[in-house]
Amino acid sequence: MIHSLFLINNAGDLFLEKHWKSVVSRSVCDYFFEAREKAVEPDNVPPVIRTPHHYLINIYREKIFFVSVIQTEVPPLFVIEFLHRVAETFQDYFGECSETTIKDNMVIVYELLEEMLDNGFPLATESNILKELIRPPTILRSMVNTITGSSNVGDTLPTGQLSTIPWRRAGVKYTNNEAYFDVVEEIDAILDKSGTTVFAEIQGVIDACVKLSGMPDLTLSFMNPRLLDDVSFHPCVRYKRWESERVISFIPPDGNFQLMSYHISAQNLVAIPIYVKQNISFFETGPSGRLDITVGPKQTMGKTVECLVVTVHMPKVVLSASLNATQGTYNYDPVTKILVWDIGKLNPQKLPNLKGSLSLQSGAPKPEENPSLNIDLKIQQLAISGLKVNRLDMYGEKYKPFKGVKYVTKAGKFQVRT
């Protein structure tokens, strides 16, 4: 099982170590550093590294490498999932998961890691339970604690751990009972030069924020559940009912959680909200090139496209860009060779255009590779797949909760080839 955990920042400083079994010398990280150096980009460090006596499984989140050490055969996905859970827990507790916040909350971090794993076996990883065991820091509480001398460690038995619904704590009470659901869809797509869709799919999630007293039993149904044939549920969802009735029936955890995620790959269901007309060319003669990009709406279902950003990874020889944007602002970073054009709202009457010349390093050959465009966008009040929540029913409690559903569509890995 998981032996040890090392946290290493981007500069290669090891700033936290935790051992759940015997102590593993931190020199084992030398193998990681070697791999890190070889990978050049931090994103490219291989997730599983073999050393003579151990395996290092690592993830890279928020500029921190979470490097775990294992010695025997352990499912790598198990370790990676756990590391993600650690990062999420830090995020949950401290608002952000960064080197500074971790260092600032070192003792809580240590307590958390101790509660999350016992002898390498996961112990309590649900945020609901952890929060009962170790209270998250708040400015108010730490002041009160200092004054009254009370601690941030709970002394009750984490009741949820033993019930058949380990994700919910008992005795939840709210004055305002409310349940909100966000249907968030991301479009992953690759469009080729001519604008034809090479590949497109939708990754959807339903995030929930449920603040209901007692033990509510919820049922969420869709207008068009047939869209969903590839789903992953939070453990609270009763799979049997989904299979037989296509409704989501569950006793929710308290607070924020991801109810389900789904995946729609049928091409005909994936609408591409915008089109991009682009022309990036480099001249054979002289150190320069031209760039001309226009973005326009395609299948937006009558909604407005917002937060539109076009990012271009330029070839290494491009020194600078002298462009003119009809809308929004552009910025070319000559170090990372990334051109970012922040458009904002897409106005269908007046299509935004970015045009101008690129200057190349003199003497360098004409670049071979084609730069690729990455698109970012957001459409409010629309799930691009057409998924619609029909109704939410609550059983088991008497009060009338306040309910709400929000839809949003975003670009995931949305890429246009040139």
Partner: protein
Amino acid sequence: MEWASQLCENRGLGSKMTDSKYFTTTKKGEIFELKAELNSDKKEKKKEAVKKVIASMTVGKDVSALFPDVVNCMQTDNLELKKLVYLYLMNYAKSQPDMAIMAVNTFVKDCEDPNPLIRALAVRTMGCIRVDKITEYLCEPLRKCLKDEDPYVRKTAAVCVAKLHDINAQLVEDQGFLDTLKDLISDSNPMVVANAVAALSEIAESHPNSNLLDLNPQTINKLLTALNECTEWGQIFILDCLANYTPRDDRESQSICERVTPRLSHANSAVVLSAVKVLMKFMEMLPKDLDYYGTLLKKLAPPLVTLLSAEPELQYVALRNINLIVQKRPEILKHEMKVFFVKYNDPIYVKLEKLDIMIRLASQANIAQVLAELKEYATEVDVDFVRKAVRAIGRCAIKVEQSAERCVSTLLDLIQTKVNYVVQEAIVVIKDIFRKYPNKYESVIATLCENLDSLDEPEARAAMIWIVGEYAERIDNADELLESFLEGFHDESTQVQLQLLTAIVKLFLKKPTETQELVQQVLSLATQDSDNPDLRDRGYIYWRLLSTDPVAAKEVVLAEKPLISEETDLIEPTLLEELICHIGTLASVYHKPPSAFVEGSRGVQHKRLPARTGSGEGAESPDVGQSGPSEAPPAVIPSQGDLLGDLLNLDLAPPTATVPSVQPSMQMGAMDLLGGGLDSLLGGDIGGSPSMGAGLGAAPAAMPAALGGAPAVGGGLGDLFDLGGGVGMPTGSYVAPKTVWLPAMKAKGLEISGTFARRGGIIQMDMSLNNKAMSVMTDFAIQFNRNSFGLAPAGPLQVLTPLSPNQTIDVSLPLSVNGPVMKMEPLNNLQVAVKNNIDVFYFSCQYPLSLLFVEDGKMERQVFLATWKDIPNDNEAQFQIKDIHLNSDAASNKLQGSNIFTIAKRTVEGQDMLYQSVKLTNGIWILAEMRIQTGNPNYTLSIKCRAPEVAQFVYQCYELVLKN
């Protein structure tokens, strides 16, 4: 006031209270100050001090000197303080074992605390103190906690057993904790079950043979129940444990699959992958014609696709596993090609894996898409990725014949870009394409030659030289080109030198007149000026060949090369099976068996996929598992070193003549041990071996040499595979069970088992063709060698549909007796050749003589008597048939079913005498007298025949019929 000053400090920090204050150091010696604070009377100050100590510890500062002071703080009611002290203890107890004993009493006391949280915490912490002396004190509290009324304590104690086992395995066994742990598998609380399974699995890993997890249907049922209710991590432990179980039959297998399938929709990817492992393994046992089998196949695709939308690290592990799954069951993901398309911002390790899977999924149906993608990738920035993409194009050409032309033109386009590394990769793969499709694309050679100067990598240079040498007769200036390489001969790598040597010799053999000087130059360079023994030896061999027998040299050097296989770097099937059992583990990430690399697991047990039990094997619908209409092109060598064949035929060919019949037979033996990988060796060797001469030139001719020259060896091997096989006795009702005639190992994955039957006067050869290879097999045909009774196929072999991987087809081939006759040794030996799109395979089998017993074999009594007298007594043979418990009537009835007719029966002194006649298809009569003594299970059989050789085989038929 203490708190007031702290409050001020906090305000100073922007009213943000953080733990960073614990890192403030004073000049006075931190340890000294902490010591003072730890011994303070004020509770609050104590706690703050312990926090400071912990904070120092977490960043790796040595605060072990404070051990006694911290332990003193342990006796407290404050839970947080207690936890902090426990944290400290776990870290430093090892270095201060004597001091740690001081803490024992508190632990023992805490294990009795009314609060279960404290009991659990105490037993958990004690287990983490890895000090031998403490473990003795741990046993009693642990035993109590294992039986605690509170499940939270029990589940914590279960893990503690694993901890203790890690420190002192003997102690755990002596104290009987393992049995208690096993009992916990039946606990009422699912969390306890999951932890017990986890602990047992971990302990079992260091005890491979201890049979700790004794899985039986009852425990399996308990695990499946717990599976639905425990945490995600518990589910992983239970699923991994389930995967080790082998169900009794297909029913049980199906019911487990049904209960595991819902896990595929879990949000935790490790749960999903563990569930996939269980399903992939147990599916093996399901009959393929079962509806459920198809449903299950369909259910597996979406979760695998979903894994690819997760974080890149998860994707990587998923892709490595999908690579295995695609090799085992390509049908699962065959429609999902697009999800493997590479995205611009994928990390490089994800890109490379996706590319690999794209090639595996490439088929005629999707090749256009794949090629368009690959071409796109070839213009990307990352050099490693671009190289692999170019190689992938070549692999596509080799895999999907219909696309070869398009691939070649794509490669030519890429060569035109003149990007150095792209050109070099392209040339390396074009060489492979030439090997696969000889005499088809040679028109591109001119373009390749233009780029000769830009090649600086040995592999590309060697490939180019190979091309020039191989097609020397079509390249006008081949001699000039090769000569240009020769100038820097000594600076080249060995690979290039060897290739250059061979290429020039080829050139010389093709154009002897103009190149004499060149060949002498290279031979002297190789033999006299080189220190490399390989190069020198090869030079000498060529030299000697050329000087003694140029004709032989031609046969060796210009021998026809075996074709290369369509799929490279496929995992060997047995390893693949083992890896499928290890889906989701490190083994699956490294594609190596766990025994190869996991430290600490001594003597890992090899896992195998379960064999299918249950019935209905033959009744398999032919359309299941067929991977489209993609016709697998002929492929011969399952090896990736294409140059290898070329090299092997020279390096391994014995320079002196050997007896041809001995050599292949020895190699057959070797092949059985080493599997198909050696085929290439065998083929190449014989193809190029000077001793074999032109008659055996091509590789497929190797096997008949083995059969013709050394049938005894072939037969002997057959016996190894089918114990007592080949003499099954078909009767009206009884047909011998099928035995393996041609093991898959000898036939590139085609396994043939079969038997013979005579049904209603028609002789039939019943065969099961089983495809154990990775590619589809088509174009089956069969032929017999001449044999003793002129058996020959009465029609073509009817295999109507292509045989997909893992599929079995049963065919019945009617036989006639009108074929050419040649006496065989043994008499009933039959040599068979089966051809498919891959190769021709040979095997021999033995048919029961009863196959030839005709229906009108009943002789007239008078004729019988006359004939009996007529046949000389020398031709009479006597046999004993032992252990038959039939009376004479039953025996005679039984024999009649096989066309052995009783003509008369006489009873003399309690002895029954049966007189019987048999007629063979070729008109030979066999007369027999069988004596049966009541009470004696041994019969005496006398056989008289004009052809006494058959007597032995007739006796065998008697014995088989009577005994079955």
